[in-house]
Structure formats: structure tokens, C-alpha cells
């Protein structure tokens, strides 16, 4: 009895039980694009790097600021840009997947408060094995800044 309890505890705390896909993932340059004040949606972008030997799938993202968060991709169908939800985003073993404008992105739909430049949004990424990780994405105003216009 004592022995099996120890075994169970040992299993529970062994590295294999704790190490989820998320421990193999590093995230570079996460940011959320500042949207116009009237916009109800915006997108988060980042580069997901898989340092492990097995493929990893990002299956879900969530954040506290928007009503829903979806994984999306864009398809260029003869010049027509089609944005569609995707079930998962694959990250190849020892590879990386870039979430960037015009391609894969985390869609934040139904913003409950307008974003401000410099806000930091905690985004939780969930992988196919149920492990998750927190990414802090800063709200960035892309392109030219108002100050630059006053040349």
C-alpha cells in the first residue's frame, strides 16, 4: 500500500508527467495590433518555436479582454482574402510557425474595452496535450506614429 502510494506520487511528480508540450515551446515577439477605436476585433501575432522532437499543435488561445478568442488563418483565393477559423496551428519539431499579418493569427473578437498603445494583454495558449502557457503581448501601433506625421 505504502509502496504503491509512493509509486503514484513518484509518477505524478516525475518529469514526464509534468512536462507538457508547453515546456518545449518558446514564443518570440508577441504583440497585439492596436485597432481603430471603433473596431471590435483585433489580432495578436507572435512566432512560436518548438524546441522539442515531437510536433506540437496549438489548439486554443484565450484572453481576458475579448469575448471570444479564435485561431485564424487567411487564404488568398485568386486575390480574394478569406479569413477562416482553424482548429489548430501546427508547430513542427525543431521548427517555428509565425503568426503574422495576412496569415495565421490569434483573433480577439468582441473587445470589451478599447485597447491603448502599450497595454499588456495576457494571452493563454493551450496545446493539444492540454498543457498551456501564458504570453504577455504588448499592444503596438503599427506603421507611422502621429508624431511622425507632423514633419
Amino acid at each position: 500500500m505504502k509502496k504503491s502510494l509512493l509509486l503514484a506520487l513518484g509518477l505524478a511528480f516525475s518529469s514526464s508527467a509534468l512536462a507538457g508540450a508547453s515546456t518545449h515551446v518558446t514564443v518570440a515577439d508577441p504583440y497585439v495590433r492596436l485597432s481603430p477605436p471603433s473596431a471590435l476585433a483585433t489580432a495578436a501575432y507572435m512566432v512560436l518555436k518548438n524546441n522539442g522532437e515531437a510536433g506540437i499543435r496549438l489548439v486554443k488561445a484565450s484572453n481576458p479582454l475579448s469575448r471570444t478568442t479564435e485561431l485564424h488563418n487567411h487564404f488568398n483565393d485568386n486575390g480574394v482574402m478569406k479569413m477562416r477559423p482553424v482548429a489548430a496551428i501546427d508547430i513542427e519539431p525543431n521548427g517555428e510557425t509565425a503568426l503574422k499579418p495576412g496569415g495565421l493569427h490569434v483573433m480577439m473578437i468582441g473587445l470589451q474595452t478599447p485597447l491603448r498603445e502599450g497595454d499588456v494583454i495576457p494571452i493563454t495558449l493551450t496545446f493539444d496535450d492540454g498543457s498551456d502557457m501564458l504570453v504577455n503581448a504588448t499592444v503596438v501601433r503599427q506603421g507611422i506614429r502621429p508624431a511622425q506625421r507632423q514633419r
Binding site: 485597432s35 499579418p101 506603421g143 506625421r149
Partner: protein, 198 residues
């Protein structure tokens, strides 16, 4: 015809050819020929928050025409950021001669007020316009733009699939270039400059 007459004719033709080669230097065509693949385009009038806006209001200026919608979360902002970036690469004199018209393909939701707020966010030179479903459809057709409203999403709202080309219209109101989505700002600026010289 005698051989002699033939020889004269031959000599005459040869001298004409030589004369052409020596003296005839046609000036290169002032205007480029219409490029295949460019749409007919043409004038249109739609509504902005400040009243009607016609393409014809901008004769003498280069106009960029883009079809999009304000709920567009990624493609339209990417295009408008690029356009704003391109405008900033022009000198102030050139900038004065450029206008940007953002045509809403989502008249059901895009009010002129929304469009103004949206366009201003990217650049003060961008004017957002909308109109009746029929008007917008006719204009999109003339410019070869495509859009299709998609079914409502789970989270509410809907997306509109749309072509994302930027049409460059010269000072005479003709479409002189079409820039595909993803064209970098420097290329957009270059196309504007080319159109300014037409």
C-alpha cells in the same frame, strides 16, 4: 514593267527606308498603353461623413482606391498601414496631389461616421465612403473587386471575404496600376510617383 522601271522603284523604296531610318525618330509615346489586366474603373459617387465624394473631385490628383470594411481585423489594417507608410515616403508636394478612397463593402454596418473614425486612425488623407448595396456592387464590378459576406460567426458578427488590391487612378481618372495585397510601402510610393508623372 521594264527592268529599268523596276530598278527605279527599288531605288525609290530603298531611299524611303533609308530616309525613314535617318530622319524619322518618333517621340516615345507620352502615355503607356493600357496594361492588360487592369479594370475599366471609372467615376463613382459615394457618401462620406462630410457629404458626397466623387472620384471626379480628384482630377489632377492620383487616387488610391481600396475596397474593404471597418470590421476587417487584419487585411484592411495591413493594407491601410502600408498606404499610410507609402504616403509618408512622399514629399509634401507629392502628398498634396494624392488622395485615398476606402470604399466599404459592408454598407450594412459601415456608417459614414464609423468609416471616418476608421480611416482617420490610419492617415488623415484616407476618406471612407459607403453607399447603397447596389451602388457599391456596381463600383466593385467596374474595378474588378470582389466581395462576399460570410455567414454569422459563433462569437457574433460576420466577416466579408474581399479582394485586397489597391487600384491606382491617375489624374485623368484612369486606372493605371493594380497593387496586390502584400505590396510593400516603397512599391506603393513608387507606383504613386509613376502615376503622378502621367
Amino acid at each position: 514593267m521594264s527592268n529599268r522601271a523596276l530598278a527605279y522603284v527599288a531605288l525609290l523604296l530603298a531611299s524611303m527606308v533609308a530616309g525613314l531610318a535617318i530622319f524619322w525618330h518618333p517621340a516615345p509615346a507620352e502615355r503607356p498603353l493600357p496594361t492588360p489586366g487592369l479594370p475599366a474603373g471609372g467615376d463613382f459617387t459615394l457618401q462620406s461623413v462630410d457629404g458626397p465624394v466623387s472620384l471626379a473631385d480628384f482630377r489632377g490628383k492620383v487616387v488610391l482606391v481600396y475596397f474593404g470594411y471597418t470590421y476587417c481585423p487584419d487585411i484592411c489594417p495591413t493594407a491601410l498601414i502600408t498606404v499610410a507608410d507609402a504616403l509618408e515616403q512622399l514629399d509634401p508636394v507629392e502628398q498634396e496631389r494624392v488622395a485615398v478612397i476606402f470604399v466599404s463593402v459592408d454598407p450594412a454596418r459601415d456608417t459614414p461616421e464609423r468609416l471616418r473614425e476608421y480611416a482617420d486612425f490610419f492617415h488623415p488623407r484616407i476618406v471612407g465612403v459607403t453607399g447603397s448595396e447596389e451602388d457599391v456592387e456596381g463600383i466593385a464590378q467596374a474595378y474588378g473587386a470582389f466581395y462576399a459576406r460570410q455567414p454569422d460567426m459563433e462569437g457574433g458578427g460576420y466577416v466579408v471575404d474581399h479582394s485586397a488590391d489597391i487600384y491606382v487612378v491617375d489624374g485623368d481618372g484612369r486606372v493605371v496600376d493594380k497593387l496586390i495585397h502584400g505590396t510593400i510601402a516603397a512599391k506603393v510610393a513608387q507606383s504613386i510617383r509613376t502615376a503622378l508623372r502621367l
